[in-house]
């Protein structure tokens, strides 16, 4: 009968389970063939049809310098008081802890807000327009 047939049935084999999300990243692997083929680079010279390799090198160098400066800036902010200027005219001050790897969140302590001081907090970096601190 039908029930017996189903119980005797062999479950279809599976090579592996689907890969789940990476807890440390939002994904969209820049090394994937699709990303490499389709992602428009923001380097203006490389988007041009005739690429001047000297110009491209200069731009790439400038990008590296800017990136390194930004990362060093994040490092030097550790344990310093930082003012965050955010949307909706929000200005808050906190002691900077760290940034996550995709620069999506900033971990801060003693966040001074109009409604009180938050001992530990995460600030969503996309809500931040700018931040300032004394070096």
């Amino acid at each position: 009968n039908g029930v017996e047939r189903l119980n005797m049935a062999t479950p279809v084999s599976v090579l592996r389970l689907p890969k789940g999300p990476d807890p440390n990243s939002r994904g969209f692997d820049p090394k994937s063939p699709r990303f490499i083929a389709l992602c428009r680079t923001s380097i203006s010279t490389s988007a041009a049809s005739e690429v001047d390799s000297a110009e491209l090198q200069r731009e790439q160098h400038a990008r590296s310098v800017l990136r390194e400066t930004f990362l060093r800036c994040l490092l030097s902010m550790t344990n310093k008081k930082v003012q965050f200027h955010m949307y909706e005219k929000v200005k808050v001050e906190a002691t900077f802890g760290a940034s996550d790897i995709d620069v999506l969140n900033f971990q801060v302590s003693d966040l001074h807000t109009p409604i009180g001081v938050q001992k530990e907090a995460l600030i969503r970096s996309q809500d931040v327009i700018s931040f300032t601190f004394d070096v």
Partner: protein, 364 residues
């Protein structure tokens, strides 16, 4: 002395039974025999932490096809369509995401959320490209075939058409529904719009005149609506009914009754089957011509909110209140994606690979 089997010729029939047609032993071909039936092994995609309320497939691209899932946790995810492998999470919404869609070549994604915004994303890099502010919860988003326009609808009862090449410009607005819009989509080569709302109507609008062309009224709120451009078929679900309409005339083609209230249904690209899922947590597969219920599967631990066939029809994906997506084979036992057709052990195939066999599902 026993000889080794050197080749096996096999096939899978319509009842998901693996049939050994013939095999070769000691250089002779001998006739085969019928083996056991194959049982469906769904692939579970985890990662969401709240109910999955909407899902959509892209078209077939040179990199395969893709799947986007909308979740109440506010973090829609992109997955490889044939394996369910996670590719990335679109981060930015500040509320539950109610609707999600991909354009045909999976280069853009759009999402509708409870934070009163619809967002357009670069589906290759995961970056947010555009935020479109609305006056209330946005429930549904749909791209035109050329990806130049985005249709949105939600709790403010208005349909909005955004020109993505000129996003600063105010969208065109179509008013008419008397309650929240649940689903809106383009049809008839993007010349018309279909919308389903809590006011128990489905309305057909002309895009250029922005006027209502026809209305379908139901006794109860429609739970889902899917449009199939090839053949101009509209699949609607309400109560325990799955109804098929001509998308141009809104004439009824046929209705089918399911054993339980249905939340979503999808028609196979070749229009031979359709699948449905709803409040009893099960997935049902029906024959479209005969309306016969062919198969049903337990697996989800909560109501099924959405179900969609892949663009090649080889699998269908379901999203549930239990926070998971599951992928199901259309032809159970076929080698496709992560599923592998395995021959019975006694034959001992020459190059046997290490294969992972799922353990039987524990029935709650």
């Amino acid at each position: 002395m026993r000889s080794a089997v050197t080749s096996v010729f096999y096939s899978l029939n319509a009842n998901s039974e693996l049939i050994i047609m013939a095999f070769m032993i000691a250089n002779r071909v001998l006739p085969g025999w019928r083996t056991m039936a194959m049982r469906q092994t769904p692939l579970t995609c985890s990662g969401h932490t709240r109910p999955v309320v909407d899902l959509a497939f892209s078209g077939i691209t040179p990199y395969g096809y893709f799947l986007i899932s909308a979740c109440k946790d506010g973090k829609p995810m992109l997955r490889q369509g044939d394996t369910g492998d996670w590719i990335g999470t679109f981060l930015g919404h500040k509320g539950a995401v109610w609707g999600a869609t991909l354009n045909t070549d999976a280069t853009k994604a759009a999402t509708a959320a409870a934070d009163f915004t619809a967002k357009v994303w670069d589906a290759v890099s995961g970056d947010e490209v555009l935020t479109l502010a609305h006056k209330h919860i946005v429930k549904t988003v749909s791209f035109t075939q050329d990806s130049n326009c985005l249709l949105t609808g939600g709790n403010d009862k208005l349909l909005r058409i955004y020109d993505l090449s000129n996003p600063e410009a105010a969208p065109q607005e179509i008013a008419g529904h008397s309650s929240a819009i649940k689903k809106a989509l383009w049809c008839n080569d993007d010349k018309q719009i279909l919308s389903a709302a809590e006011d128990k109507t489905i309305r057909l609008w002309d895009r250029s005149s922005m006027e209502e062309v026809k209305t379908l009224t139901f006794d109860t709120s429609v739970s889902s609506m899917e449009y199939m451009a090839d053949g101009e078929i509209l699949v609607i679900t309400y109560g325990k009914t799955i109804a098929f309409y001509n998308a141009l005339s809104l004439d009824l083609i046929k209705t089918v009754e399911a054993p339980a209230p249905i939340n979503s249904a999808s028609l196979h690209p070749e229009k031979d089957f359709f699948v449905a899922g709803g409040d009893d947590f099960k997935l049902y597969k029906f024959d479209y011509s005969t309306k016969e219920e062919l198969e049903s599967y337990k697996g989800h631990f909560g109501p099924v909110h959405c179900v969609r066939f892949s663009p090649d029809g080889e699998l269908y994906a379901s999203g549930s209140e239990d926070g998971t997506l599951r992928l199901w084979q259309t032809a159970v036992g076929k080698t496709y994606g992560l599923w592998k057709c395995v021959l019975p052990e006694d034959l001992g195939a020459e190059n046997s690979e290490q294969l992972y066999t799922s353990t039987p599902e524990i029935k709650a």
